[in-house]
């Protein structure tokens, strides 16, 4: 008896007992849920398994980037949804970063009115639900745009109206592949030049004209390539026929509304991150750099930004992951993303709740983990090297 008591008072034994009890409880709960689910599914006549993925989907999707048609399989529907989710996420990330940096820097401006306007914008968007913005842009703004006949024309080639944004489509998209290849090549060249210049600077202390070469390689060459490709192909410019535009590519209003909502909302959060990051650099750093004789532009580039970035990257990663997750708000206005297509339409048609939910959640978890891993790698790369 005393031996048993002594055993119970041993911290190591107790720890093992506690953990075993927790595990046992979790396993029991899982078994309980799984048994109920299988019973309920038998009652409802739903077969489990992933066979449904190869069945015909029969669902019309208004906005497709992949080769999906209504006679494709359910699995193709899944990929079409993933592609739409990725498209809106990536475009929103880029635009929100640009707007967020602008607003964040404006917030720090010494100009009183500019900083106040930026502050008002941040306080406005951060304290209103994102779903509000999505509905507002869709039902309030896009629905109030003129009908196709009175479209807002952008240089006579793109037209904005209440059925979305109609843009011209290249007739020979193959030439753009060459342009993209040229752009990638010149960017790789730029990376090589930068690495060579850095090594030379470390060895000999001599500067290379990196900036001039960089402008040519990063901006001028790609611009030339795109211009050449645009001239080489014919363009299918949308033309008004009767009540709507013919030709071109229609960016559906759901995409425009969701993108506008994601960008304006996320920019408010990114602006605060930018402000916090720049303010986190101690003033002594810029003062010391100035005392060493650096010009203001170089202080910003060599002293302030590298240190501010280090503070900004973890919260920025979080915001990018939020954009990915928040792109699912499109389900509220039927933007065909993976949640609305797969978890909505496909689930209604097939009734395979568990399989479909697991696949949908896996999309977000896999992308989220990949982005986190990349950001951790990047973070480690730019981290302060201490001796």
């Amino acid at each position: 008896m005393t031996k048993a008591l002594a055993l119970l008072n041993d911290k190591r034994v107790r720890d093992v007992v506690y953990q075993a009890a927790l595990l046992l409880g979790l396993v029991a709960l899982t078994v309980f849920f799984v048994r109920n689910a299988s019973e309920n599914m038998v009652k409802a006549g739903i077969a489990s398994g992933f066979d449904f993925l190869w069945r015909n989907s029969g669902i019309d999707v208004p906005f497709v980037l992949t080769g999906y048609t209504r006679s494709s399989t359910v699995l193709d529907l899944f990929w079409a949804g993933v592609a739409n989710t990725m498209l809106v996420t990536v475009v929103a990330m880029v635009l929100a970063t640009a707007l967020g940096f602008l607003v964040g820097i404006a917030r720090l401006s010494s100009h009183w009115l500019l900083s106040t306007v930026a502050g008002a914008y941040i306080e406005f968007v951060r304290n209103i639900p994102l779903l509000f913005f999505v509905l507002f842009w869709y039902f309030g703004v896009i629905a109030a745009l003129p009908a196709p006949r009175d479209s807002v024309s952008m240089f006579g080639v793109a037209f904005l109206n209440n059925r979305g944004l109609t843009i011209p489509l290249p007739e020979a998209p193959a030439v753009f592949r060459w342009a993209v290849a040229a752009i990638l090549l010149s960017w790789i060249a730029q990376a090589l030049v930068a690495a060579w210049a850095r090594r030379r600077k470390e060895r000999t202390g001599q500067d290379a004209p990196v900036l001039a070469i960089g402008v040519v390689l990063v901006l001028v060459l790609p611009a030339l390539a795109v211009t050449w490709a645009s001239l080489a192909t014919g363009w299918d410019v949308p033309v008004l026929r009767g009540f709507n535009y013919r030709g071109g590519f229609v960016v559906i209003p759901e995409f425009v509304a969701l993108l506008a909502a994601l960008v304006t909302y996320t920019a408010g959060f990114i602006a605060e991150i930018v402000r916090g990051g720049i303010q986190a650099v101690p003033r002594g750093q810029t003062e010391a750099a100035a005392a060493l004789g650096l010009r203001p532009g170089r202080i910003l580039r060599l002293v302030t930004i590298p240190q501010a970035l280090r503070v900004m990257i973890p919260p920025l990663t979080n915001q990018y992951l939020n954009v990915l997750k928040n792109s699912s708000f499109g389900a509220a206005i039927a933007y065909p993303d993976v949640v609305s297509l797969f978890m909505g339409s496909a689930l209604n048609n097939t009734g395979q709740a568990i399989e479909i939910i697991a696949m949908t959640l896996a999309v977000y978890l896999v992308i989220g983990l990949a982005v986190s891993a990349f950001m951790n790698w990047y973070n480690a790369r730019i981290a302060l090297v201490t001796r």
Partner: protein, 349 residues
């Protein structure tokens, strides 16, 4: 305006040519945006009347908001029973005030008393039964439902979040692993998917015949996700405490739970409170997502009111009114959170 402050403003707005140009450009932009909005919302707006015909063209029709005010606040809750929602709201407000303003000695007792009594009392008042007329959750809606979901989801999220944060710091490997997996899973998936998931899976995994209310499913789903976010907010406070605190408590002979309850949590939660308030703001904003399972909270009621044939074209009025209420709630909470943060920083010095 005195001469000194006039010169200060001149310096601020027109100190140099560049400053002056920026000021003029911004002022033009603000005027271009604000003048039509003010004309629409105030000058050309119609305030009195009862039907759409009483509204002048070109301005906002606030008659619409007046006529549907009850719906915006209570949804389809029976009119003669709305006092119950008011009473529940007043009780919750009083309890919150009592906890915030009670002398520190009594605060914990007040909080525990409120936590034991209020949730059940609130559900009884709203849902009825036991002498009150039953009102189905289908009829709940509007601002009342937004507040209900926020409060009840955080009743799940805060205790669970604290446990998860403690679990993540635990010495026991299995506990730590389970907590980390739980937190990272819920933080990794979109909340809209979780609400779908809760409304589809909860009835499936419970024993056949056990029905679960639609609203309860949404509240449980939201509660589980927010718990993961709350756990991260609490973790910040736990990590800010020097390890000497727990070591000293253990050296004094306190058990794990005694040390946690008496030494660690009181200090850690005080540090975490601003972050937890921010999570609560996020929760209030995310309650709008119940729209996707056709539960009509404030935004949902505004959206549904657009379909009323008697009030066609009231999109802007509905959005401006509901949006301002969300903004006021969240802005007030964020100011309070900032105030707490300042207070904490001052105490630390």
């Amino acid at each position: 305006m005195s001469a000194a402050s006039a010169s200060l403003w001149r310096q601020r707005l027109f100190g140099s040519p560049a400053t002056g140009v920026v000021t003029l450009l911004l002022a033009a932009g603000i005027a271009w945006l604000a003048i039509p909005i003010i004309r629409w919302a105030l000058i050309d707006a119609s305030w009195s009347g009862t039907t759409r015909a009483d509204c002048a063209a070109g301005g906002a029709c606030w008659v619409f908001v007046k006529a549907r005010f009850g719906q915006f606040m209570y949804g389809l809750y029976p009119q003669d029973q709305r006092w119950r929602a008011d009473l529940a709201g007043i009780l919750f407000a009083l309890a919150t005030a009592a906890i915030v303003f009670a002398p520190p000695r009594l605060r914990l007792k007040a909080a525990i008393a409120a936590l034991v009594v209020l949730p059940a009392l609130g559900i009884w008042l709203l849902a009825g039964g036991f002498g009150l007329r039953p009102v189905e959750t289908r009829e709940w809606g509007g601002l009342m439902l937004t507040l209900f979901i926020s409060v009840y989801a955080s009743l799940i999220a805060i205790p669970l979040g604290i446990l998860l944060a403690l679990g993540r710091q635990s010495q026991l490997k299995v506990v730590r692993l389970v907590s980390v997996l739980f937190i990272e899973f819920w933080r990794g998936v979109p909340i809209i998917a979780v609400i779908f998931l809760a409304s589809l899976l909860l009835p499936l995994i419970l024993p056949g015949g056990v029905g679960i209310d639609r609203l309860a499913r949404a509240v449980i789903g939201l509660g589980l996700v927010i718990a993961a976010y709350m756990a991260e907010a609490v973790r910040g406070g736990l990590q800010a405490l020097p390890p000497g605190q727990r070591e000293a408590a253990t050296a004094l002979g306190l058990t794990y739970w005694k040390a946690t309850g008496l030494i660690i949590l009181p200090q850690a939660l005080r540090i975490s409170l601003p972050a937890m308030t921010n999570e609560f703001i996020a929760l209030v904003k995310n309650t709008t997502l119940v729209l996707v399972v056709s539960i009509l909270d404030l935004l949902g009621i505004a959206q549904a009111s657009l379909a009323d044939p008697a009030w066609v074209g009231m999109n802007m009025e509905a959005y401006v009114f509901s949006g301002s209420i969300y903004w006021l709630i969240c802005f007030a909470l964020s100011r309070w959170s900032r105030h707490l943060e300042m207070l904490g920083r001052r105490q630390h010095r």
